[in-house]
Subunit: 306 residues, 2 copies
Amino acid sequence: MKNTNPSVLVSEVGPRDGLQSVKATMSTAHKLRWIDALHASGLREIEVGSFVPPKLLPQMADVADVVRHALALPGWTVMALVPNARGAEAALQAGVHKLTIPVSASAAHSLANVRKTREEMLAEVARIVALRNATAPQVPIEVGMSTAFGCTLQGRVADEDVVWLAAELVRAGVDEVGLSDTTGMANPGQVRRLFNLVRAEIGDKTGAAHMHNTRGLGLANCLAAYDVGVRTFDASLGGLGGCPYAPGASGNVVSEDLVFMFEAMGIDTGIDIEKLMAARAPLQAGLPGEPIYGMTPEAGLPKNFV
Amino acid sequence: MKNTNPSVLVSEVGPRDGLQSVKATMSTAHKLRWIDALHASGLREIEVGSFVPPKLLPQMADVADVVRHALALPGWTVMALVPNARGAEAALQAGVHKLTIPVSASAAHSLANVRKTREEMLAEVARIVALRNATAPQVPIEVGMSTAFGCTLQGRVADEDVVWLAAELVRAGVDEVGLSDTTGMANPGQVRRLFNLVRAEIGDKTGAAHMHNTRGLGLANCLAAYDVGVRTFDASLGGLGGCPYAPGASGNVVSEDLVFMFEAMGIDTGIDIEKLMAARAPLQAGLPGEPIYGMTPEAGLPKNFV
């Protein structure tokens, strides 16, 4: 029986971050089967979709149905991404347990991604917080700080910008601020330094490490984050999400490999890795032909690992 | 201009460990062109081949010629693998700078790999040391301790076995003992623990970390080894070497990704990563159709990285 008090929280982002990056639209039925399989593995947090206009992202047109289904499964936190107050309103109406908002540390990426300056995005975050406070005060709000480790548009992102933004976000009322390596530019030294700086500023409101494996450093960066006290890690089953800069290379850290690393280290994830790997089949069934990744699934578990 | 006093030593094992694992035989001319390209990148140590009977390993039939060529290139240490005293004699006659001997921590792997018990292998090591002392006392001898982190035949390998074997090897006269994750079973916690234990036993005779990327943990394990003071890392260009347990997955840590990680962290390798990546072309030319790996080469370097 799995430990009921795991040491780290692996937050599965495949149904949101992963699906958002692929061209083919997965049918609702396939999404639900995939989410069932993910739930069966013991995951305790999942990002199931984005509340964005269906015209912009047809993949997420069924997000309310997907949320409803995920909420009916016990024992996990159902999150949705919301880029603005309108999305937050819809997400709260759908009954999500938690909201996540993407906010860019890079000024250039903020404009390119949400067509808002960082200051305008902070104002939007404040509106979402006000809405949450008025209508669903029990729902925590997390920010995933995009391009915290560098930006392909702007280049270097100053540590000071990341720390400033984290402080402003907490001031705006968010409950957690995670750091995202949106562009696969992070390195372990930087991961340790930035999480330490952010923790010094916002304490236990420091949130998840969202690492990409663009240049193969995904797990090393997660290890580095763990070393400095991070206990929540975003990951995507099969590394789904890809990466525009790296054909053939996975974007998001592969959930299976991350869970393997922690479990091999004796750090309990609460996840049954064999069941997690079994969730690759419904993912693949729902996206025929889409490449999925994962070294541990390819190699298999060492004998007597489980 | 690169720093002339790098902080870590990346030891390229592709021409030995890599080629030994592929079916096609690379021609001598292709090997020399590949080695020239590797040398041009600033590598300071290379394992160029094995001194083994050509009948057993036709790939290495030209090892003396390859050694001669590599020795003519300035500024690096030319190593060869020798499994026994006969091989050591030939390697010393060829003029190698350094010998490396594989010795298994797993009793089962030792029998399967060299048809000797670990105690018989220790006696063989002592013979090699005696030969070296008598004929080429300036040539250091390194042991790469195979299966130090686990064995697919025997399963778990006790820490005590690794520490005992490291102590016996130093007693037999070897200059360095590195730890090899032959089977891709190591995890970062174990890497830190075992290197600390071995260093407590044999001090600065503790040698290289030889990690595999079988389950995606290669770089995380190198980071863990670096954290506990390891400064020499084996790696293979393009991850050449493959792995019998993981079709499609690379065996050896990819040199390009390892160098990227260290350089991104500001840890100087002394290697020009663009020239290192350029050495993939002659490797590929010499082994047409053989898959080679590497996330950094696929994704490309971040802008303004070099």
